[in-house]
Symmetry: C2
Subunit: 555 residues, 2 copies
């Protein structure tokens, strides 16, 4: 295990020692109260001691075989609380209200891939459901310990499977055990001069196996690929035995079954090892920002950059409200006011005094590639009315690129609900999808806000493809009063409205968060009955007793 779990908060993001930089930012809270038209009451989370947690359904005799097979066992309230939920808003509502049930009856920590395989088989034979657990940062209910029709449920925690097994410098591939955390994996790869380059917002606290299981995307996915792109092969511990998939660079010997592993969310087995594409560490890197007069203009610039095959690493375009919100946030928490006035005057002069959209364009690679890509991006940005505003806003974003999740807990402490969702669609469908989801979120947050309050909706494009792009929404609203049930109902109303808008407008229910329990309800409509039958047939082959992560993916 490459992070000491006792240093992490069980019901919030980050380490126990994390300093909340927003608690005393009064100007920020005033700005938010104004935007949400709501008072911001203090709404603290319950402590572990104040929480309810049923006793484990398992006895010593149930767990001894796992120990004999080479696993450690966790049974403390702290351990069960840590594994009781993931990091979705819905999860935090439960945790903060002290509702830990359902919690896993025990945590099983395999110390080797073989022990992991044995643990899965033991659980399958003992009639226990298994929740595969890496970093536990799922934001879609991917690790909720549902026991289905089983007599109990255990979490199999992979974080003691943390070895970097091999690096092939010629083929630019590496193989690692799947429970390795992001920072440790990159540290070890970097020491050899290479990188995977997968930096999701959860990077600090998520694992290789989790990235694959959820079909995740890092912030530089344009260069390094999404999990399904960089995954070369995987080994899964399934109830039917270990399953290793093909590892060819390309093949036509039937369908590539490695493709079924990315996005399987533990429903077929536990990913115990993964082989993945690596890159030489980038010799050069250039991140810079542009302002556009509209989201549409910025979007068309991204489309042209991507369709012209220009090797960008990252293209991140915020809509008007997100650009405004994060601009305000930055000013309210970093206040040299004279500088802001000069900036404002300059922007006004250049015609960017009103609403505007910020694009962060990053390129990484060798010096010649970066020079080529930077010049072409600049040229296309100009063509679409974009104005270069230099490297410093981009570098600020880069420095703070893992900060997002830390904002959530202080907001929840002050009566503000906040959630994110993301989708993807073809370029032709993106404008309608953006308008529909944004409209649904603003309508729903206003509808469910107590006492005349309203929501805020921010959006960006952060992953783009030849034929389409993702849309990422962040939305805030005044939390319902009246306790957990009312808050869950409030969240569900917002989530349903947005998800229905996605389904009706050509979007996928998730671009990189996964399906989990939160999206299960929309899976059948998206995939179709035939595809769901195919997924069920796959699961029945590898997991005939339904042991693996019940209730996820709509299966």
């Amino acid at each position: 295990m490459t992070i000491d779990r006792s240093t992490l908060r069980w019901n919030a993001w980050g380490t126990a020692g994390h300093q909340d930089q927003f608690a005393k930012a009064d100007a920020l809270w005033a700005f938010l109260a104004d935007a949400l038209k709501a008072p911001l009451p203090v709404t603290p989370a319950k402590t572990l001691a104040e929480s309810t947690l049923a006793s484990s359904a398992l006895a010593f005799g149930d767990l001894a075989p796992f120990q004999d097979a080479g696993c450690d066992i966790g049974l403390t309230p702290e351990d069960r609380a840590f594994h009781a939920r993931g990091d979705s808003y819905r999860d935090l509502l439960d945790l903060r209200a002290g509702k830990l049930d359902p919690a896993p009856d025990a945590i099983v920590y395999p110390k080797t891939a073989e022990a992991c395989q044995r643990a899965v088989e033991l659980a399958d034979k003992a009639g226990l459901a298994v929740v595969p657990f890496g970093g536990g940062t799922s934001v879609v209910g991917g690790v909720t310990p549902l026991k289905g029709r089983h007599r109990g449920v255990i979490a199999i925690d992979t974080t003691r499977l943390a070895a970097l097994l091999s690096i092939d410098r010629t083929s630019l591939r590496a193989t690692a055990e799947a429970g390795i955390y992001g920072p440790e994996l990159e540290r070890r790869l970097n020491a050899e001069g290479v990188t995977l380059g997968h930096y999701p917002q959860s990077f600090e606290f998520s694992t290789l196996g989790g990235w694959v299981a959820a079909r995740g995307a890092g912030q530089q996915s344009n260069r390094y690929g999404k999990a399904e792109d960089w995954l070369v092969a995987a080994t899964l511990a399934t109830p039917k035995g270990a399953w290793r998939t093909e590892d060819f660079p390309a093949s036509s010997a039937g369908p590539r079954l490695t493709d079924l592993v990315a996005g399987s969310e533990g429903t077929l087995g536990i990913i115990s090892e993964a082989t993945f594409a690596i890159h030489e560490r980038a010799a050069a890197r250039d991140y810079r920002a542009y302002l556009f007069r509209s989201f549409e203009a910025g979007r068309e610039a991204i489309r042209e950059i991507i369709q012209a095959e220009i090797p960008a690493a990252s293209l991140r375009l915020s809509d008007e409200d997100e650009t405004h919100f994060f601009g305000a946030l930055s000013r309210l928490t970093n206040p040299p006011k004279t500088m802001h006035k000069v900036e404002d005057a300059y922007l006004k002069l250049r015609g960017f005094g009103g609403a505007k959209c910020a694009l962060i364009a990053g390129t990484e690679g060798d010096a010649a590639l970066v020079a080529y890509a930077r010049a072409r991006i600049a040229e296309i940005a100009r063509k679409h009315g974009g104005m270069g505003v230099g490297a410093s806003p981009a570098n600020r974003w880069f420095k703070g690129r893992f900060h997002g999740p830390y904002l959530r807990d202080p907001l929840l402490d002050r009566g503000v609900g906040v959630d994110t969702l993301e989708t993807a669609a073809s370029w032709a469908d993106i404008p309608g999808l953006y308008a529909a989801v944004r409209g649904a979120l603003l309508e729903a947050t206003a509808r469910v806000s107590p006492g005349g309050g309203q929501g805020i909706c921010l959006a960006h494009i952060s992953h783009s493809y030849h034929d389409g792009a993702s849309l990422y929404f962040t939305y805030l609203w005044p939390r319902a009063t009246g306790g957990l049930e009312a808050e869950v109902a409030q969240w569900e109303a917002i989530k349903s409205a947005a998800s229905d808008a996605i389904a009706a407008n050509g979007g996928t229910i998730s671009h990189h968060h996964g399906a989990g329990t939160d999206h299960a309800r929309w899976m059948a409509a998206e995939k179709g009955a035939r595809s769901m039958a195919v997924l069920r047939a796959l699961k029945a082959e590898l997991d005939p007793n339904g042991t693996m992560n019940p209730g996820k993916l709509g299966l």
Copy 2:
């Protein structure tokens, strides 16, 4: 149907009117006789009238429902002969020997996607096996009409499903019926200013659906992708009903089931429609040739180009023997001898007088991309000792890029066996794989050549990836005498030796030809028992009666 089938040869490549440019090239035949250490006897193919073809097992009453469902029916000997085999060497042995059995009992031509779906369901209910048939150019026995445990077998020929249904210029996607032939598809796309860019050697006579079913690769796959890369979504006619897969640019809502369609070889259903990525037609294009002192030097240049993310469209490196062979072929059939002498003197002066390897490097795209890629490729080629020899050898290759298959029939007419196979592996495995397969082919062809003859083995790299590349082998040998059985045994001995060498040295049994019947025997070892069980479970879900293309993929 966009090619009139009556204009095509039923037992050879191309149209009936095709002029064999090699029949009278005496110098070429002398060169080959010398290289193969064998006389080159005249070995003509049988005519259709001389061939044996059992009567159809089906009666009018069996076929009427297909007609009622909107299909045409083919029952003539010409039609059954055309659909009796694909275009593998093994297939040609049968066809040229007049052995047409097993042949399909009837050919069913659906006129709409709905009729195709109905035809599959009708066959399934009637206990007839179905061979999906597009252009019929499989070189691995992908369309062999095996009836399995069924009472008869029909070919469902998709070539009347040839509509280009839609073009989305914004998302750069198009949708077409799957039976459209390559030239007609590109003609219609080009008329709108776009291209799919998929140009396999079989391009003139193969179909969109066949490319997807076999997980094919075009010669510019570095830019346009392999079939599994450019396929966005597909509709399949399965015994359980129509199956439409997801069409998002990316998603994490479970595994992407479109990935299962590429390489399914008709075993799950018939691909009736496909949605695929398109590109604006390239404004610029640059193809040029380099000579390297060794295959290894050229291979390392390709690896560096690809791993530096330089946007090449095509990188094709011939080994020493292939470079020599095609050089000789070109000189023997285009003889201005003085020019050759000047060339030879120049090459000797530059140190390329002995063995050498030719690389054709092509880039396509907008002018800036082509300029960037060309310059970087030239720089890396130089670094590895490559010498630029200009655009004309590359343009000659480009002009003749569909000529390969036309060479086979004249060789077969003169006692020469010729076959190709291809594989792919990680860069680290490529040197060992190349040596092992080449060694196995030379050993086996010598072993099975009659009367002291020997084989020739040519190889090239034509598709490259971040983590590996393909290897493509062409091999010639003196044909066995003594009739079909002896010739099949001779071919099987060579094929087995090469395939075993592939399996033992980290290669896949096929990079882009598919598995068909010829590779079925190696599938289980390559995929593993668990993966084969997954494939069988998939098939059982969509095709519970085993109606669809029995005997392919090792299923």
